[in-house]
C-alpha cells in the first residue's frame, strides 16, 4: 500500500462502491423485469375457467388448464410422500447415528452428487428404469423423478436442522430412559420443527416448478388425470408445449400457467422466509 496517494486510493474505493451498488441494482432489476413480465402477461389469462375447464383446441375461445393443475398437484403430492420420509430418515442417519463415520461421509458425498445431477438426467434415468419396463409414460414415473430430486434437498436440511438441536436435550431425554428412536422423533424433531417444515416446503416448491424431469416421464396429456398409470397432464410441460406452438391463445395460456407457477413457488418461498423470521423474533 505504498506509492499511491491517498487520493487515488480513495477514488478506486469510491469507484468500487459505485460498481458494487450498480451490480446489486442490475440483479434486482432483472428480478423485477421477469416478475413484471410474468405478472403483466399472465394475469390476463387467469379467470375462473382457467381453473375449472379443460383445455380448448387452438382458435376456440375459453377453456382452462384444470387437468394440468390437478396433475401437477397430484404428482407433487406423491413425490412429497415418497421423497420426504426417505430424505428425513437419511438425514436422521447423518445427524444422529452416522455423524463422522466413514459410511456417513459416503452418504453425504452421494447426497451432494445427487443434488448436482441435472434434473434432465434424472428424467432419463427414470425413463430407463420405469417408463421402458412399464411400456408407457406415466404420472408415477413423473412423481418418482420429482421424488429423486427432492431426496438430497430434504436429507441435507434435515441433517442441518437436527444438528442445531443442542446435545444436552438428547442427553436429558436419554437419561430419562427414553429409547433412541423416541428421543429422535419425539424430542429432537420437536426442537427442529420450524426448520424442518420450512425445508420441506422449500423442497416441495422447488420440484413443483420442475419441467425437465417430467418431459419423458409424465409427458403431458390433454385429458383429465384419471390414474397415474398413464401420461399425466401437468402445468410445466404444458407451458413448454403451448409456448412452442404458433397459436396466440395457447401462448396466452402458457403465460397464465407461468404466472400461476411463479406465484405458487415464490409465495411458498416468501412464506417460509417469513416463518423463519417470525420464529427468530418470538
Amino acid at each position: 500500500m505504498k506509492g499511491r496517494s491517498i487520493k487515488v486510493r480513495r477514488a478506486a474505493d469510491f469507484a468500487i462502491r459505485v460498481l458494487a451498488s450498480g451490480a446489486a441494482l442490475v440483479g434486482i432489476g432483472f428480478l423485477g423485469w421477469i416478475l413484471i413480465v410474468v405478472l403483466g402477461r399472465g394475469i390476463g389469462s387467469i379467470n375462473w375457467a382457467f381453473f375449472t375447464e379443460m383445455p380448448a383446441p387452438p382458435g376456440i375461445e375459453g377453456g382452462g388448464l384444470a387437468n394440468a393443475i390437478v396433475g401437477t398437484v397430484l404428482m407433487t403430492f406423491f413425490a412429497t410422500g415418497v421423497g420426504v420420509p426417505i430424505g428425513m430418515l437419511a438425514g436422521i442417519f447423518l445427524a444422529e447415528f452416522g455423524r463422522e463415520t466413514r459410511l456417513a461421509e459416503w452418504v453425504r458425498f452421494g447426497s451432494n452428487i445427487l443434488m448436482g445431477v441435472p434434473s434432465i438426467i434424472t428424467g432419463v434415468f427414470v425413463y430407463i428404469i420405469l417408463v421402458v419396463p412399464m411400456q408407457n409414460f406415466s404420472g408415477v414415473a413423473g412423481a418418482v423423478a420429482l421424488a429423486i430430486i427432492m431426496l438430497p434437498v430434504v436429507t441435507r436440511t434435515t441433517e442441518d436442522m437436527l444438528n442445531l438441536v443442542p446435545n444436552t436435550l438428547r442427553e436429558s431425554a436419554l437419561a430419562l430412559g427414553a429409547p433412541r428412536w423416541k428421543v429422535t422423533l419425539g424430542v429432537v424433531f420437536r426442537g427442529a420443527k420450524t426448520g424442518l417444515v420450512t425445508g420441506v416446503l422449500l423442497a416441495v416448491a422447488r420440484v413443483s416448478g420442475e419441467t425437465a424431469p417430467l418431459l419423458f416421464t409424465a409427458l403431458n396429456s390433454p385429458y383429465w388425470p384419471r390414474s397415474l398409470n398413464e401420461p399425466t397432464a401437468n402445468l410445466t410441460v404444458t407451458i413448454f408445449n403451448y409456448a412452442m406452438s404458433p397459436y396466440p391463445d395457447w401462448q396466452a395460456k402458457a403465460w397464465g400457467a407461468s404466472f400461476l407457477i411463479t406465484a405458487g413457488v415464490l409465495g411458498a418461498t416468501l412464506f417460509t422466509r417469513g416463518l423463519l423470521w417470525y420464529r427468530s423474533r418470538h
Partner: protein, 325 residues
C-alpha cells in the same frame, strides 16, 4: 443405549415387556435410517450404471468418434456429440464470464458496503432469482429477452466489434449468447450466496487489522478478504458451473437447437441438455435413443467431476475457517 432399556418409565406397565420392545425397536430404527442413507448412494450408482448400459449400443457403434463427430442424422443413423458438447461448454463459459465477477461484487456489496437492513433486503431479492423455475426464465427469455437482444444488444455488439467473428451474423435474438446470458442470471444467486457466506467467515480481527493500518474497503477486500476466502470462492464458482452446465429448460427455449458448430455467438446452437429435451421422446430407433443416452452420460460425468471439485474446495475452506470463528 444399553441403559435406556434398564428401567420402565411408567411403573404401572410390566417392565419386562417394555424392555423387550425397546431392545428390539432401536436397532430396527437405526437400520431403517442407514438403509435410507444407502438409498441415496444407490441412486447415484444407479444413474451411472443405467446411463452406461443405455449407451452401450452407441458406444459400440461409434466408440470415441462419438465425442468428436459433428454428424447428427437420425435418418442414416449417424450420431456425434461434438455440437452438443461445444454448445454446452461455450454457453457455460459465457455464463461464468458474466456471472462470476458480478456475483463477487454483489457479495462484496452485501457483506462490506450495504447497511444491514439494505443488505438483507437485497440479499433476499437476489436469492429469489434462484427460486424462479427454469421454465419461467425460458418464457421470459424467448418472448421478452431474445427480442430485446435482437433489437438492441446484438446490433450494438456487431457495430462496436466491427463485425468480429464472435459477434457476426444475423441478429435473431435466440442463440448462444442469449442462452449464456440467461444462464448467467440463473447461476448468479448461487455463486453470490456461497461467496457471501465465505466472506462472512473471514475473521473480523484480520479485516480490522487491515483497516487499522489505514486501508480502504476495497484494499481490505482485494488484499485480505479475497485471498483469505479464495478456496471458498473457487468452490462457489464450481457450484455455479455445475448448475449452468446441466440447465435445461431456459436454454432449450432460447438456444435455437441446431446441430452445427459455429464460431458466431449469435448463431443458433444446442447443448447436451437441450438436445435431450427436444429429441428424447422422438427417438424411436435403438441407436438414436442410445446416442441420446450417451449424451446424458457425458453430461452426468461432467457434473460429477465439477461437483467433486466444488466439494473439495468448499470442504477445505470450512476446515480452514472453522477455527477462525
Amino acid at each position: 443405549m444399553a441403559n435406556s432399556s434398564r428401567q420402565a418409565v411408567d411403573p404401572s406397565v410390566p417392565g419386562t415387556k417394555i424392555e423387550v420392545k425397546r431392545r428390539n425397536f432401536d436397532p430396527a430404527f437405526r437400520w431403517l435410517t442407514v438403509s435410507c442413507g444407502l438409498l441415496l448412494l444407490l441412486a447415484v450408482a444407479g444413474i451411472f450404471v443405467e446411463l452406461l448400459r443405455g449407451s452401450l449400443p452407441s458406444l459400440e457403434k461409434f466408440g470415441a468418434r462419438f465425442l468428436v463427430s459433428q454428424a447428427w442424422n437420425p435418418v442414416t443413423g449417424d450420431f456425434g456429440a461434438l455440437s452438443s458438447i461445444y454448445g454446452t461448454l461455450v454457453s457455460t463459459a459465457i455464463a461464468m464470464v458474466v456471472a462470476v465477477p458480478l456475483s463477487l461484487i454483489i457479495a462484496l456489496f452485501l457483506v462490506e458496503l450495504a447497511p444491514p437492513r439494505v443488505s438483507s433486503l437485497v440479499g433476499g431479492a437476489i436469492e429469489l432469482l434462484a427460486a424462479i423455475p427454469s421454465i419461467i426464465y425460458g418464457m421470459w427469455g424467448l418472448f421478452v429477452f431474445a427480442p430485446f437482444m435482437a433489437d438492441y444488444v446484438q446490433p450494438f455488439l456487431e457495430r462496436v466489434s466491427g463485425g468480429f467473428i464472435l459477434f457476426s451474423g444475423a441478429p435473431m435474438g435466440i442463440g448462444m449468447l442469449t442462452a449464456g446470458l440467461i444462464l448467467a442470471l440463473m447461476i448468479l444467486p448461487f455463486i453470490t450466496s456461497v461467496t457471501r457466506d465465505v466472506f462472512l467467515m473471514v475473521p473480523a480481527v484480520v479485516k480490522e487489522s487491515a483497516y487499522g493500518l489505514g486501508s480502504t474497503t476495497w484494499e481490505v477486500t482485494r488484499k485480505v478478504t479475497i485471498p483469505y476466502g479464495s478456496q471458498g470462492i473457487l468452490g462457489a464458482c464450481f457450484l455455479g458451473l455445475g448448475r449452468a452446465i446441466g440447465e435445461t429448460m431456459a436454454v432449450t427455449f432460447v438456444i435455437g437447437n441446431r446441430h452445427e458448430v459455429s464460431l458466431s455467438l449469435f448463431a443458433a446452437a444446442n447443448t447436451i441438455a437441450s438436445t435431450l429435451a427436444n429429441e428424447f421422446t422422438e427417438a424411436s430407433e435403438e441407436l438414436y435413443l442410445s446416442s441420446l443416452i450417451e449424451l446424458g452420460l457425458v453430461l452426468f460425468l461432467l457434473t460429477f467431476l465439477i461437483q467433486l471439485a466444488a466439494q473439495y474446495w468448499l470442504k477445505r475452506t470450512r476446515r480452514k475457517m472453522g477455527a477462525g470463528q
